[in-house]
Symmetry: C2
Subunit: 204 residues, 2 copies
DNA sequence: GACAATTTTCGAAGAATATTCGAATTTAAT
DNA sequence: ATTAAATTCGAATATTCTTCGAAAATTGTC
């Protein structure tokens, strides 16, 4: 247990940091980043305002911490799900749907990531971009394998396929979040994946 | 000529407003909204800071004006292009590509709209949402007609089809803008449209 | 063309928010 | 027990957004 071997002081400090990120996720996710002041974040986290700066360089840095703190859990879930399936095609499908499930279960995080971070200038920062790239490359790799296995047509450009899937994912999520969840995200995502995949398949 | 019949004072006022929006489009588009201060906008527009408030309620209001000032030109272009084609399928394709051309030719606007406005909380404002909805419905309508004409399969849900196209469009544009235009937008958009459309077609 | 009414402009001040500084406190190490 | 190190946070500063109202410019009227 890492947490237990940490010195008392360090552990407390870490818990504090986590409380701040949790508060930020919630507030940024509900009201948007621009509409949330650090004063509010500090209040919800139960720490004095200047203490935020003991953990984060500035507001932007706190914003970046929100998705970062979720990547680990997300990737674990995605790989766990994918490993349970056989064949790249099934793995791709399972990954896509697990991704939507994660968003459904963590809408605040989803909103910060898909609506505020990923599209915004934040991606210009190397730190965030790296994570986003990794995210996309995971899909590229699965598509590539499905092509190699002969499940998808040889004509398929894996990057184009990835753009299609990521684009659908983002758009679906954005509409779901912005229009107050007018449909069941995973169900609709399933329909969308199956529709998209038609164009990936080998012409018989 | 509306502009010429306007009283001198009103005309100057309108030109001023246009200069402000132009400055805002440029700065918001290059640095992002959060990283751009109104002081900078005012300076680039050549007006004193408080004068911004003679035209816009607050910063958010100025942000909203950026896409609004472009809709007219965009819609004109889209409908002109679509009307030159026959059959809903060709019209849809032409619309999609003309849309990409407009983005390519107005990247600052594209960035403000696709990266800052559309995904952000701003869509929560009725005024902006209305415009966005209209945008999407245009695609829905064209798809619907293509289905009715028997060009697309009857199984196709027009809304799902729209999500797919809009998702692709957004993602393609976002990557193009954020990764410093690594490909020719319209060419890649063409490949993407054709790939997506495979899943719309009637199974023979 | 002079005068009043109206609209437009913008300097000065205020409010909200982000950020820094460093001294006080707490914990860890010797 | 004493020193060193890390952590916390009150007080002060900097930046940015926003308001107010008086000055200036324009328009309408006689």
């Amino acid at each position: 247990m890492v947490a237990n071997t940490l010195k008392l002081k360090q552990r407390r400090s870490r818990e504090r940091r986590e409380r701040i990120v949790a508060a930020a996720t919630r507030l940024f996710g509900r009201r948007g980043i621009a509409q949330t002041s650090l004063t509010e974040v500090a209040k919800l986290a139960g720490v004095p305002l200047p203490s935020l700066y003991d953990y984060f360089k500035d507001k932007q840095d706190l914003v970046a911490a929100v998705p970062e703190d979720n990547y680990l859990a997300l990737y674990e879930r995605l790989t766990a799900v994918a490993n349970g399936k056989q064949g790249p095609r099934q793995q791709l499908r399972a990954t896509f749907l697990a991704n939507l499930e994660y968003i459904r279960d963590n809408p605040d995080w989803g909103r910060v990531f898909f609506l505020e971070i990923w599209p915004s200038a934040a991606v210009g920062q190397a730190r965030i971009r790296k994570a986003v790239d990794r995210y996309g490359l995971h899909y590229v790799e699965l598509i590539r394998r499905a092509v190699a296995a002969g499940e998808y047509t040889r004509d398929l450009d894996p990057y184009l396929g990835m753009s299609l899937l990521m684009g659908s994912l983002c758009h679906l999520t954005a509409v779901w979040l912005l229009y107050r969840k007018p449909y069941e995200l995973v169900d609709r995502g399933t329909a969308m994946f199956d529709l998209t995949e038609v164009s990936f398949l080998r012409r018989s």
